[in-house]
Symmetry: C2
Subunit: 332 residues, 2 copies
């Protein structure tokens, strides 16, 4: 069988190549991958930005497929069943934070960008019926992160005004879809008119260009403050987000693509009783609740494109360059 592996000594840093098939352990399930999706995590592996990267590891955290073999100790699954994979491993039993053993599929453990994967049965869930394999593959990592940030951490309600910053990213898009599903009033920030148009077409009420030096004032005049903000950028923009947060509101940060902010408006935080809440991925409970939520609100992931595994380099490059609108899906 073939998979997309890390190959840091090569020109493209990844390689689509033959990989060995492994034998199944008792608690595992063998899944024939029908579709897998890319995350920035995969590109960061390609760029060597994680510790303990090993050439030959199969990349990919997101995948959906059909069961081809079930371990001797596994109950409740059948050959042929259509499933999606929870890529978050070893969260532990504390719903507030992951354990020190927490891992994400795709490095250092083999991931989903392969014709076939072996995973523990407790990572395997029935594919939501309303999603095809490509849509299902787009869901796990970004959907889980968005769900935990928006629902578990921020406890977003239908009556909330919600701002999703950096609407380009996968987590941001799911957060917007989930908030819209709830019935919240959703706005986005983006520097791209096309992405703003996409957000509005999905049901968002409006958006702001975070490069506009007046956007904070415009937002406060138009919206009057947000109850919930979901942000993956951090950086100096965090203080702008604090300025558009309602008293008592909460900002959930799930990333820091813009690095650390050069200051923090502490006085505004305590006087306005604002919460800044860190969030990452999600627990097994979050994943199960996310699947229930997606089915209840019939949410369909936005798929940018579907291409064959053999075109992985082009797909990774597209993500690196931020040219996608939705998840980039690869199929064997």
């Amino acid at each position: 069988m073939k998979g997309i592996v890390l190959d840091l000594d090569s020109k493209n840093k990844i390689s689509y190549q033959e990989v060995p098939s492994k034998s199944l352990e008792g608690d595992q399930i063998r899944i024939q991958i029908k579709a897998a999706a890319l995350n920035h995590r995969d590109e960061w592996c390609r760029q060597g930005k994680y510790p303990n990267l090993t050439n030959g590891v199969i990349l990919g955290s997101d995948g959906a497929g059909a069961i081809t073999e079930v371990g001797a100790d596994v109950k409740g699954f059948q050959i042929g069943q259509e499933v999606i994979i929870n890529p978050a491993m070893n969260w532990g039993d504390n719903q507030e934070a992951q354990s020190k053993d927490f891992l994400i599929m795709g490095t250092p453990h083999d991931g989903t960008l392969c014709e076939e994967v072996l995973v523990s049965a407790d990572r395997v869930h029935a594919k939501p019926n309303h999603l095809n394999f490509e849509e299902a593959a787009a869901l796990p990592l970004a959907g889980l992160t968005a769900y935990r940030a928006l629902i578990y951490q921020a406890k977003t309600k239908p009556s909330d005004k919600v701002l999703i910053s950096g609407f380009g990213g996968g987590v941001a898009q799911f957060a917007a879809q989930f908030a819209l599903g709830l019935g919240a009033e959703v706005y986005v920030t983006t520097s791209s008119p096309a992405k703003l148009e996409k957000a509005v077409s999905m049901g968002a009420k409006g958006g702001f260009d975070y490069r506009d030096s007046q956007w904070v004032d415009k937002s406060n005049a138009e919206v009057g403050g947000f109850d919930v903000i979901i942000d993956g950028a951090s950086g100096d923009g965090l203080n702008d987000l604090i300025k558009v947060t309602k008293p008592g509101g909460r900002i959930v940060i799930y990333g820091a693509t813009q690095g650390n902010p050069a200051t923090l408006e502490a006085r505004r935080i305590f006087w306005n009783q604002i919460k800044i809440m860190g969030s990452t991925m999600g627990s097994d409970q979050d994943f199960e609740e996310m699947l229930t939520f997606v089915q209840k609100y019939q949410i369909k992931p936005i798929v940018d494109s579907v291409s064959p595994f053999s075109e992985a380099v082009e797909a990774f490059d597209k993500m690196r360059d931020g040219k996608q609108m939705g998840k980039i899906v690869l199929v064997p």
Copy 2:
């Protein structure tokens, strides 16, 4: 009658002088003050650090006394009843944050440093039986702030490890007492060996000198991270606090005496799923719950000293210089 009023044109900026008696409105109660207590807010008024300061305003947010007159529309109070005053006015009906009309007694409205005060009946509560007037007067502003930070915001549990930063201040002392009352494991930071000794004598398990460049490492080695941190300083120390917070832990900031931090460890916040929660004063609900809590756990405020209103200047100077250990109480 006499009161301590703002007198910014004088040498001491405050003056103990004759003030006019006012007539009672229908929803008000007249209270003969038996004891009042100082807060940094009073000193900041003296230093001209608030907007809209007016010479002649009676300072003071904390007070306890006996009812001498009850307005025509007031029910449930009697002449002679011993009471304490909730100095937080117009919080509004949102438990998450105060309204725009929120005010604190002592500026711009007349405060408690007076032989007699008139307040709306809804600010008046029975004095806890286990407290004398001096102890009761020490409670309201700092106790309310500590209660909301520790209980409403951080939702501190008996099993939590709690760090109270800057153990010198009134809010910090109440937060420590409340956390100890709950049965939590309490540590403090302070630069004063005497204050550390005091904390330990109250039941704290230990403490750290935040000026020691190794305190973060020492704390992590000794304690293994805090579930809850209550901080009134902000400033660069906030990033140290983030480093001693357990994954999933929460830092409540109720002030920024050290200003804004020069950066924020955003990556650590999101990866460790830490919450930074702003908090200020408390709602009417918080005040009532705080009184119930103080009675349930028989908490007695730490009183540094009791002096007459006529020695107000010396008392304000002591607070300015940070020489107190506990609340500074003044009596008519």
